[in-house]
């Protein structure tokens, strides 16, 4: 039973990668290039050197948070499309806190404050659709999509009207307790944006897994996601589960905002999320809503994204956007098919 579950989780990803490779070959050939050369460039530019790896880890960090956010929602039976604005709100609130804290505070003091601030920012945006769903039955897909527009517009307004440095789209630089980059501990990462938020991402993955699969609240959350009527019968307040799940989901996405705002640029900038929230949906689905799967999927998508820059000289980097989309479609399409194949094979 366990083995079959593992097979069913892994096979679709393998099939998807094969399909993506075939489509990728065709695209590369259509640009008159040799697939072997392009793939070698892609690997060399990502996992092949410390800077590239650092960039992959940096991108994977944000995607892990947004992937976890979407996965927690889906485990509770909710499709959170709002990770994009939750991510931005988390980064924004953390930046506000950073701007008022006295400079010179050590990271050990500021880090917990930043995590709390980012979680509060993202959580506030996440919990609203949860409450609307629990109280009025408003569908979370609609409300989270609409909140993306509202929240992003609001943040842009606040930044443009009150916070931005003239001539830029970002706030003033934050000096309080900057989070160290990985290059401070491991010199070859020099120049890459990877920073200690990656440690928080790893901890968040472990904690999310523990919460979902080891605690009573997690048991109730998953039951509500699988069969809300059975959960209700089992004494679970399903509306409460929805509210808490979207609060947690938003908080996770919000903490992801630290990666850019405090780990990389040290300021809040308009539209810094740049699609990482939406890509979190793909990460969660490819990762089968399991924290470990989410981490692996985040690394895969980060590799493809960084690889696009590495191969830009020979093929347009939009090619990797196409590849990313092919992976998503292939995974979505292959899950039922692969399951059937595995069943009949035994």
């Amino acid at each position: 039973m366990r083995r079959r579950a593992a097979d069913e989780a892994i096979f679709p990803a393998v099939v998807a990668l094969l399909v993506a490779a075939i489509v990728g070959d065709a695209l590369i050939l259509s640009f008159g290039q040799n697939p072997g050369t392009v793939y070698r460039l892609l690997i060399e530019g990502t996992w092949g050197n410390a800077y590239g790896l650092g960039q992959v880890l940096y991108k994977a960090t944000t995607l892990t948070f947004t992937g976890l956010a979407v996965a927690v929602g889906l485990r509770a039976g909710l499709f959170n499309i709002g990770a994009e604005s939750q991510l931005a709100a988390g980064g924004f609130v953390a930046a506000l806190v950073g701007l008022v804290l006295p400079s010179g505070l050590p990271a050990l003091v500021t880090l917990p404050l930043y995590v709390l601030a980012a979680a509060a920012g993202g959580g506030a945006v996440g919990v609203l659709p949860g409450v609307l769903k629990a109280k009025f039955g408003a569908h979370e897909v609609i409300t989270t999509i609409m909140l993306n527009f509202i929240v992003l517009a609001l943040l842009n307004y606040l930044t443009a009207a009150h916070l931005k440095v003239p001539g830029s789209l970002h706030t003033a630089e934050i000096h309080a307790g900057a989070l160290p980059r990985l290059s401070a501990m491991f010199a070859p990462f020099h120049g890459s944006a990877a920073n200690v938020v990656i440690v928080i991402a790893a901890a968040a993955s472990v904690l999310t897994g523990w919460f979902l699969f080891r605690t009573r609240r997690g048991f109730e959350l998953r039951a509500a996601g699988l069969q809300p009527e059975a959960a209700e019968y089992g004494g679970v307040n399903v509306g409460g589960v929805w509210t808490r799940a979207l609060l947690l989901s938003g908080a996770l996405a919000g903490i992801g905002g630290l990666n850019f705002v405090l780990g990389y640029k040290h300021y809040y900038e308009e539209a810094f999320a740049s699609g990482a929230g939406f890509l979190g949906i793909a990460v969660a689905i490819v990762g089968r809503n399991h924290p470990l799967g989410v981490v692996l999927a985040a690394l895969a998508f980060a590799t493809i994204s960084q690889g696009g820059l590495a191969v830009n000289a020979v093929v347009p980097k939009q090619m990797v956007d196409v590849l990313q989309a092919v992976v998503i479609i292939a995974v979505a399409a292959s899950v039922p098919g692969v399951r059937r194949m595995l069943r009949t094979a035994r």
């Binding site: 605690t215 009573r216 048991f219 959960a231 089992g234």
Partner: protein
Amino acid sequence: MADAAPTTPAVRLADIHKSFGPVRANQSASLEVARGEIHALVGENGAGKSTLMRILAGIFAPDSGQMEVDGRDVTGWTAAQAIDAGVGMVHQHFMLVPTISVAENVILGRELTRGWQLDLARARREVEELSRATGLAVSPERKVADLSVGEAQRVEILKTLYRGAKILILDEPTAVLSPPEIGELWGVLRGMRERGETIVLITHKLDEVMEISDAITVMRHGRTVERLRTANTTPAEIARAMVGRDVQLAMNYVTEQAGAAAGQTRPSPAPPLLDVRGLVVEDVRHLTAVNGVSFSVAPGEILGVAGVEGNGQTELVEALAGLRRPRAGAIYIGSHDVTRLSVKERGDAGLSHIPEDRHARGLVLDYTVAENLILGQQHRFTRSVRLDAAKILENARRQIEAFDIRPADPALPARALSGGNQQKVVIAREMGRSFQVLLAAQPTRGVDVGAIEFIHGQLRQARDAGKAILLVSADLAEILALSDRIAVMYGGRFVAMLARREASEEVLGPFMTGAAAEQVA
């Protein structure tokens, strides 16, 4: 007699094998049905009856074996070919579009057109004619959503006949019907037999088999174990073939116990454990479903609620369980007013609940047996915020043993169990802990004879241990076999309240259809 004439049989299935992964649904199953007979295919749940019939209807292809229809080799044909050849199957779960009319549903897939347009007028005419010819009375203009379950089933049969079925397969057609509706169905089937059509009836209700069938094929564990002529057999013989051993049939129990119970009317001086006063409950559409019901259940008493489904029983039980807020009235467990308490709080107050739909409510199908055995009790299986895995496993092993849940694997998902064993998981969870009041809604629906015997035993044992049990069942035989008092629910009210010795199918029938009423409370 059909077996006297040397004609080719309408259906001949020989040595059929079919596996789904590790599950062997059919192993060397066979079936021979003579033309123009009503043939009962009986067996416990999971015996492979539905699989064999889906193979005949072309929905599944057999792994091996031979299939003949009217002497023609049709091995491994498709559903479309089966329909073209006049083999039609009416499934247990209706496959109708609720938002469109009866006529539109019947012609769906075989739409009559005039140019580019649907010819609905002709469709209505044809459906009306077919309805008159077969006795399947239902108005072609009505929306399927507005039909009763019995009417919806007639539409299913009409749909199959409209496609030209000469061999009709019915999968447990009476599971959802009231006694009068069952009578009407038998009339329709007899009429079809007279016109020379062949009917295969999947069922596990022995009284039906005896009443309607000409011949019987018994399946057990995927194999065909017995072929019988109905005229030459007895229910006990069929039951033995189904289960593979002697079984205490529910009706026998009644006759044995009725005499004993008749004398000792259980006078209950003890105060009631469940007391319900003036309960009014709305259904999902905010229509009044339970309209002022009052009753009480004493310790050591089973109160049976009989009635055709859809007369407020579901809403009554859900209101008592805390799943639906009543509009008016009060509910007491002992002296404790639980009217405004949550599901969890009622559980802590001593309420257990076997829900009517184990697939939707009673089980989380993707959770393991062990996890399902704590559903609703999860707060008792924790160490601080963590679930106590060791305690959960220990509980599972104990319950699996005590309630004979098979296979005895706590890590198996509930989905992988047979219907009877799934129900045992629910029963084990609800009855294997301390409780005072039990709501048992359709406790044996869709489970096999062996499991019914077991579950009835458990209910009697709990009654004898002084628990108060409210038994809601659409199965009148079950109500009569277990109850000390019987209420009949019709149109949201209790229209009769009888002592067991005053009740019989004949007495209860008119109350169930609303023909008689003796307003109670």
